[in-house]
């Protein structure tokens, strides 16, 4: 995802460099924020960890030593060993294989739900910020209303009414995370709208929609990129939380959250069941948070 956005960024050409009064980071020309990001050892490590998880998810059928759904009643709750590195679960399934396949649900939920938030939030925020007036008023109050519902509680309510499944969990998380994107897109649009190059574009007679899409949108991409990365981290936790509550990925399909839900009942005799799924969530979320923080610093010239 980083690459496509990076391509779009450089294709957009960027805005004039230099002094700004507005706090949101306006793209500062073709400054090589990607290079700045890669100069940060923590960000590089985090990117590598994410790449590792992505590779694991994609290559799961070839990497996993066992079928993640294959129960074996002679191997129930076996501690980690040479044949089962992470041990086995309550019906003898290989925990390592389930953790490997579980990466799919987490990454998919993280990325898809953020794409949903972007698809709704960016047009809405752009419209509110650029059009202003009563459109802005209505969209902003709707955003406030959505923001007032605690993220997870709203996601729980939505998936309760939509019915429990991974797809519905992604929709619920995506909708719950949307208001943050509307706010950000609206705020940065307001800042960019006041820039001279937008005034110039208007002065030479560009249509409003053209200015919004060709001149404003490319310039609000950097803060959105940061927000998206951090939102993926939040979405991964949210998917795990919903699955933990039984509202996400449905058993027997593996997901880290639902594995933890089962593991909770076997803590005294199979603690290894709880370790690996949780550690995987932690590592993946930490990596996205680190990349998000790194991106924010790399994209913000004041920090450089």
């Amino acid at each position: 995802m980083t690459d496509t956005l990076a391509d779009r960024l450089s294709a957009a050409g960027g805005a004039p460099d230099g002094t700004r009064s507005a706090p949101p980071a306006v793209l500062t020309g073709r400054t090589h924020w990607l290079r700045r990001l890669l100069r940060r050892p923590m960000s590089v490590v985090a990117l590598a960890v994410i790449a590792g998880f992505v590779a694991t998810a994609v290559l799961a059928p070839w990497i996993a030593p066992y079928d993640p759904l294959a129960a074996s009643f002679s191997d129930v709750r076996k501690p980690p060993s040479a044949s089962h590195w992470f041990g086995t679960d309550e019906i003898g399934r290989d925990v390592a294989s389930r953790v490997i396949f579980g990466a799919r649900a987490s990454l998919l939920a993280g990325v898809v739900s953020v794409l949903i938030s972007l698809a709704i939030g960016v047009p809405a925020g752009l419209l509110a910020g650029y059009a202003g007036g009563s459109i802005d008023m209505v969209l902003s109050r709707m955003t406030d209303a959505l923001l007032a519902c605690p993220f997870l509680i709203l996601a729980i309510a939505l998936s309760a009414f939509l019915g429990p499944s991974l797809t519905n969990a992604m929709i619920a998380i995506g909708i719950s995370a949307t208001p943050a994107f509307v706010r950000l897109a609206r705020g940065t649009t307001l800042a960019v709208k006041a820039e001279e190059f937008v005034l110039a574009a208007r002065a030479i007679g560009n249509a409003p929609w053209r200015i919004a899409l060709r001149h404003v949108l490319p310039n609000i991409v950097p803060p959105l990129l940061v927000q998206s990365t951090l939102a993926i981290a939040a979405a991964v936790i949210a998917e795990a939380s919903l699955s933990f509550l039984g509202l996400g990925q449905q058993p027997p399909q593996p997901s880290w959250g639902s594995m933890l839900n089962t593991a909770k009942d076997y803590l005294d005799n199979a603690p290894w069941m709880a370790l690996w799924p949780g550690l995987s969530i932690f590592l993946l979320v930490l990596s996205f948070n680190l990349v998000g923080d790194g991106l924010r610093d790399a994209l913000d010239p004041r920090e450089a």
Partner: protein
């Protein structure tokens, strides 16, 4: 000040209306006939007919919304399909438990977050700062239900110091109550501590660069007094108002924490309601939390404006 309050109230009302529409609209997501879905598995025709009548399902959507809203404004959030009790009674019953959990969690969050933030700001760029930032990242990246499970594994299963579950009312046995609450409260406070630490650090850095801090130093006030009395006191204002916004995190976290530690609170209420398909309870819980959030936010804004004239005049 009054105009500021009036201006804020004017924006709150449409927000509340949208919240109520949103929550009412959740019903529309149910596939098929809501009366049949709400009637549960038995599909008793009498229940379906009763629901159809009480929910005014033969009327247009807008009219149904107004009927529902009238009930809400009269304190009627409907009835639980499961227990036949009014939703308000159920909420009133469970809320104190979650409030206790939330208050204890805030104590943990303040006790960890503020000192860590102060140290990080005062010793900016040192290993302390780095360590505190790592601590915050750790707090933000650990799923709190997993942290809960790991603490149960350590303190209940391995060491046997604390009970893994089993809520005791503080009025029955305060000691047992605290023993059952300390782990969930820590788990819940942990993520908020991370956010508070970040706020404290940036607020302190801002205050420490102010001239009055330099003046205080110049006139020979001890560094300890400069930091605690001059800087922290002023930095606390944004920290506390920003902290009020963590209310949502607190409630979302409480849902999971209560599930892990089997605490019969607000979070358990909504999760159980989801599985019992008790939709009126789900709607009631979301409505109450959203309203509480909006009111709290408003209170934080007013408090902030009271101590900071630039906000209300600007």
């Amino acid at each position: 000040m009054l105009t500021f309050i009036v201006r804020r109230v004017v924006t709150i009302v449409p927000t509340l209306v949208f919240v109520s529409m949103l929550i009412f609209g959740l019903q529309q997501l149910l596939p098929g006939d809501p009366a049949k879905v709400l009637a549960g598995e038995e599909q008793d025709p009498a229940v379906i007919a009763h629901l159809r009548q009480t929910m005014h399902l033969d009327r247009p959507l807008a009219v149904r919304y107004l009927y529902w809203m009238r009930g809400v404004l009269h304190g009627d959030l409907g009835e639980s399909q499961r227990s036949q009790q009014p939703v308000t009674t159920l909420i009133a019953e469970k809320l104190p438990v979650t409030l206790e959990l939330a208050c204890l969690a805030i104590v943990f969050a303040l006790a960890i977050g503020i000192p860590a933030g102060v140290v990080a700001a005062v010793k900016r760029g040192t290993a302390w700062d780095y360590g505190a930032s790592m601590l915050a990242l750790w707090g933000l990246s650990t799923p709190n239900f997993w942290l809960g499970i790991m603490l149960i594994l350590l303190f209940s299963v391995t060491l046997g110091w604390l009970p893994a579950s089993g809520y005791v009312s503080p009025f029955e046995n305060l000691r047992a109550n605290l023993a059952s609450m300390v782990m969930p409260a820590f788990v819940l406070g942990n993520a908020i501590a991370a956010v508070l630490m970040r706020h404290t650090r940036s607020a302190m850095l801002q205050v420490l660069s102010q001239e009055y801090v330099r003046t205080a130093r110049a006139k020979g006030v001890s560094e300890r007094a400069v930091i605690l009395q001059h800087a922290l006191r002023n930095a606390l204002i944004p920290i506390i108002t920003l902290g009020a916004l963590e209310f949502g995190t607190l409630l979302s976290g409480a849902v999971l924490t209560e599930q892990v530690f089997t605490i019969p609170g607000f979070g358990k209420l909504i999760v159980d309601a989801v599985f019992n398909r008790d939709y009126a309870v789900v709607q009631g819980v979301v409505l109450v939390t959203a309203t509480a959030y909006i009111v709290l936010n408003f209170a934080a804004d007013v408090a902030y404006a009271m101590v900071n004239p630039r906000i209300r005049l600007g």
